[in-house]
Symmetry: C2
Amino acid sequence: MALEQVVRLFINKFGMISPGDRVLVGVSGGPDSVALLHLLWRMKDELQISLAVAHLNHMFRGEEARADARLVEELAESLGLPAYVEEFDVPAYRERTGLSAQEAARQVRYRFFEEVAGRAGASRVALGHHADDQAETILFNFLRGTGLAGLKGIPPVRGKYIRPLLDVRRHEIEKYCREHSLPVREDASNKKTIYTRNRIRLQLIPQLEAEYNPRLVEALMHLGHICREEDGYLEDQAALLYEQVSEAGRENYLLLEVKGLLSSPPALVRRVLRRAWRQLTGTGTDLTYLQVESLLDLLYKPAGGKIVELPRGVKASRFDRFLRLWIGGVVSTVPDYSYPLEVPGITYIPEINTSIEARLVTLEEAPDPGLLSPREALLDYDTLPAMLVVRRRREGDRFQPLGMPARMKLKKFLIEQGIPREERDRLPLVEAGGEIVWVGGVRPGEPWKVTGKTRRCLYLRIREGDMQG
Amino acid sequence: MALEQVVRLFINKFGMISPGDRVLVGVSGGPDSVALLHLLWRMKDELQISLAVAHLNHMFRGEEARADARLVEELAESLGLPAYVEEFDVPAYRERTGLSAQEAARQVRYRFFEEVAGRAGASRVALGHHADDQAETILFNFLRGTGLAGLKGIPPVRGKYIRPLLDVRRHEIEKYCREHSLPVREDASNKKTIYTRNRIRLQLIPQLEAEYNPRLVEALMHLGHICREEDGYLEDQAALLYEQVSEAGRENYLLLEVKGLLSSPPALVRRVLRRAWRQLTGTGTDLTYLQVESLLDLLYKPAGGKIVELPRGVKASRFDRFLRLWIGGVVSTVPDYSYPLEVPGITYIPEINTSIEARLVTLEEAPDPGLLSPREALLDYDTLPAMLVVRRRREGDRFQPLGMPARMKLKKFLIEQGIPREERDRLPLVEAGGEIVWVGGVRPGEPWKVTGKTRRCLYLRIREGDMQG
């Protein structure tokens, strides 16, 4: 099949171009982008598109780079196409930002394409990446460590960016350039093996082709296609699960329902956790395998109070029914409150939209204290002063947790329990005679615990919403 | 963490062993399996298991191999464990079967383990594969060309086989052997770089670690874990879709409903197609990317009559509402039949559980012939002899398809249309005056087509089941 035909099928397969589109072609002056421009130019009437050319001189390579720019201008002129040829001082930008040369160039280049596409009224930006670039990217990610997201490689279409040559081998592109006597210039920095990617391209891939698989590039292209489809499907499923298990949080705070995660396939849970972290940090980067594992550990083996620290200042802990992720300092939104506790009866606390149910039971009627959830408590009623109050925590609160020998700062206790700051003010404290007898949702106090001598038990339970009826 | 602790966590994570299990440990005499035996022996009381040792001399390496066997026997004796040490002439087996040395050894070894596990009453067989084996396997598959199934590498658990050391590096195993002064022997054939896998282990992985990523093995282990989970989830989803779209076929014949496939995510469709092929061939091997692509082409662009040939004699074509896959010659099961066609009316054909509806309509009332499905036909009623018959095809049938200049052999026409042999006898033929006027489900005859002069149209439609009632 002629190259033109292959490229036409690929464009159709991914719906890259529609009639009426104006396509801006990024042309460096190398064979890939020159061939791309020439192919699109030959197809433009058939595809019913108009074309424009964009070239950015990154100012890394002085006179050589200016010659590239002239070549692109002349080529565009010979094809009767408008050309946007500009320069940007990437070395200076790199100096300012501290980015690597390749990353700085990438950022500047895409900003340039965005800006020129706007000016030129282009709905699409076509780039010359080809199958060997794809193989190089996939192999690079594979060696560095990745999942499906890295193995899918460069996308054929992302937003307005299209890559019609992504299934074409570089040698076919070079052959096309020779056959059509197209003027091309090679970027000398592509030959420098100090860059890992160049070494992969110039040394490793040829070596692997010679020693292990002459069709390696094709195999990696196919892997890329499969992983793109499968990763897309898995992300769609993970997005659905994320919708189900995430509670509307705030910008810097996020809750994931543990029950929903535990009953879901681990493959999706991993993706939901990564999604939550991206949501909080607003980045497109990703957690590593081991970071996700540390979150899974929280989920599958809830060791009380553990806080996992993740990149970009995100912390996570499991508490009560939720896995919590938060970032930075979270400010309390619960106003101070204090209500008499109805015993027996139900006390509603509007500030946290929660009710506390209180019942008096005999030791025989009482549930086994060992089987209670943190949302329940059993206290020896006759050791308590008659007047019980439920209130928000306050500076300087002290508390003797069940099982502890002495009182301690409540704040220290809550930190040790891994309860995020946001959550601490949401815990209803039951107080009697100036002492905290239950930190609702966490633990009752040691002095009021039920013993063999207990006659009447106070059974307390937190219930969501207004249960007063 | 001590190696023993790492291995214990790994055994728990995958639920490899339960109290009361009898575990047969495959011991070659190399450091991996010797360390595995020693570790399990130390944990056996804690895990509440009993152990036995199995060793097979493959008879590739004469005296050296007999020394390995003696080492294993002595080791088992020193640990007070029963040993099943046997030999099998793998070179002769290889000669007989034409398999590669490695594949022949693998087959014989697993058969040996099955057999000894039965004799020893073992519920589990533990093998010494470790993280470097895993990295080697994943890299081997990656280079050769694969999808997720290959990237997941060696499974920690498959049936009764368990691999407790799969997350442990080889150097940690060797350190353990030195620390416990365990007697080990190296298999010299592991050093021969004529085997691709040995070259990957001895040359490529060290090179990639030195030049690209010192933590490559760890990165590949993590990739393996992710791909195992994701591949498992995708296979589960594909199995559900397969249930939905596959019609109960016969052993050598299988139908997939096109509509259900077209409305499903391509990632799952690919897996359903591979599943269908495995189902027909009964093999655990797989189709290549390009073979699956050729099936997808059938599905997404139904070019009339194309037959795709797949490995192991499987053929596929798209016809009517189904993608069909079949293998070998398929024998007809439809007995010969012939019924007068009721016009107007409904004629039921019990042999194929299908009805034909016939109506007379004016040209104005008739649907646009261009919009008819192959299951409908519109004929010029006044050009037809009065007596119409519906019957099965017979040897020597001839037919002039709509759009063709002359009559041709019906069989040839049906082959060109890609209709599998199994299907051909299921097509109801409508005959008038000894001529086939409609091959039901495929195409009407040219001589009876509707023209501008047509006054009365015969509208025919195939409906499934008995519609006479």
